[in-house]
């Protein structure tokens, strides 16, 4: 499969990339690792006139920590996230998710920003970022916007990115003590997209009750979403299997899966219950560890 004819530029800094993107608004696409965009180009589902390759721009692929949050550059590869021990220590959900994405070659090149901007409803990062209450940093020639991950994924392959903006960073609030997080992915074949994915984050208060919670679901709606009904059931409650079963059932009721090659909707709803339950249990175990 051959992509349609296209031009290619590799700007040396972000300012130049943003200027070109603004000049060519609506006809340019931003290229990161390429493992989401190249398949679209080859299928000719995307036919931009220009590709703006971010690979030469320094400072977009780091993972750093401030007093308040963890900042992951948009060009951080899945492998870099997978192998970051400091990140895994505070947010093991990131290692869970990164390790399940694609295969080794894809993890070598695919990036979190590319995956988030692409917004495949079966991709893992969008649900994870909603569970951990992340923000998305969007830059344009005119300034910067920091928007919550919740609400960013508006529909299948559609996000809140404006045509002249580049996604440059993901910010995750630094979790407090007694926080646990986990991602549970059900896939039909090794390296496949999720049939169902459940992301959970729990922070326990001094009284042992659930003080903060986040649940995100992959592949069971037009866009990955936060299971807010389940979160409501969990907040301020004493954690335990019975509560987790009820919350997982609430998550399932909020999901809107479609029949497809991965299975019928009824099966997926049942798997939402199971995978959400497992993610909550794993998160609790880590919060108590």
């Amino acid at each position: 499969m051959i992509p349609a004819a296209v031009d290619y530029v590799r700007p040396a800094d972000l300012g130049e990339a943003l200027r070109i993107l603004k000049e060519r608004e609506g006809e340019a696409k931003v290229l990161s690792g390429g493992y989401s965009l190249l398949p679209l180009l080859k299928l000719r589902l995307a036919q931009p006139a220009l590709l703006i390759d971010l690979q030469a721009i320094d400072g977009l692929d780091g993972i750093s920590r401030t007093d308040d949050d963890i900042r992951i550059g948009a060009r951080a590869t899945h492998r870099r996230i997978l192998e970051d021990d400091g990140l895994a220590a505070v947010l093991p959900i990131m290692r869970d998710a990164a390790g399940g994405i694609g295969d080794p070659q894809i993890r070598n090149w695919g990036t979190i920003g590319g995956s988030v901007a692409h917004a495949d409803p079966s991709a893992d990062w969008p649900a994870v970022l909603q569970a951990v209450h992340a923000s998305i940093v969007l830059r344009s020639a005119d300034g910067v916007r920091v928007v919550p991950a919740r609400g960013f994924f508006v529909d299948t392959f559609q996000t809140g990115i404006e045509p002249a903006e580049i996604l440059t960073e993901v910010r995750i609030p630094l979790p407090g003590p007694k926080t646990g997080s986990a991602y549970q992915k059900l896939e039909r074949r090794a390296g496949d997209f999720s049939t169902v994915g459940a992301a959970a984050l729990l922070t326990l208060g001094d009284d042992g009750r659930i003080a903060q919670v986040g649940i995100g679901l992959t592949a069971v709606a037009d866009a990955p979403f936060a299971a807010t009904n389940a979160e409501d059931a969990l907040r301020d409650a004493q954690p335990g299997d019975e509560l987790f079963r009820d919350a997982a059932a609430a998550a399932s009721r909020q999901s809107r899966p479609a029949d497809d090659a991965h299975g019928p909707a009824e099966y997926k709803r049942a798997m939402v219950t199971e995978m959400t339950f497992r993610a909550l249990r794993a998160a609790l175990g880590r919060a108590l560890a």
Binding site: M1, D7, K42, Q55, P104
Partner: protein, 172 residues
């Protein structure tokens, strides 16, 4: 669309070409440079037959544009042997019957080379995980795993006694 000049170092040799930006890296290697050892299998980034190293990282060359690789160091299956001496991975696949039809083999070897460069002594599970992006429809993988284990042992031995055998060093 305008052609763009691409300069890459392939198996240690600088190669240049003027290409359309839509040209895939695998087609640059095969059709422009004549290096047909790298195979096109699924053409959808699933099967791994087109695996090469780009700046030391294994990549599926059907899912990268040639222009993205401009300036990069590329290693293909043709760069693995030292003259008439097969790379230990090539010898391992030969000795252990790690192939039947052979179509997946160049990609398997390049992915295994990347794996062994990072992890010289992988467990069977780590080998199977390491080649999980490479599909073989003949062997059932059992002999592929044995071939990689043989090569890993030989490379470790060569590393421990670098002067003894003159065995080629691990790729990248």
């Amino acid at each position: 669309m305008t052609k763009q000049h691409v300069s890459v170092t392939v198996n240690g040799q600088v190669r240049e070409a003027d290409v359309e930006p839509r040209l895939l890296l695998v087609h640059l290697l095969r059709d422009v440079f004549g290096l047909t050892g790298t195979h096109v299998g699924c053409d959808t980034s699933n099967c791994g037959a087109c695996t090469v190293h780009v700046n030391g990282l294994s990549a599926k060359s059907c899912t990268m544009l040639a222009v993205q690789a401009d300036g990069a160091e590329i290693l293909t299956i043709e760069g693995m042997a030292s003259g008439a001496t097969l790379h230990p991975l090539q010898q391992g696949f030969w000795d252990q019957h790690g192939l039947q039809c052979g179509f997946c083999t160049p990609g398997m070897i390049m992915q295994s080379a990347w794996l062994l460069a990072r992890n010289p002594d992988p467990s069977e599970d780590e080998i199977r995980d390491g080649i999980s992006g490479n599909l073989c429809r003949c062997t059932g993988y059992v002999n592929i795993v044995k071939a990689i284990q043989q090569a890993a042992a030989e490379l470790r031995a060569a590393e421990a006694a670098p002067d003894a055998s003159g065995a080629p060093a691990a790729a990248s």
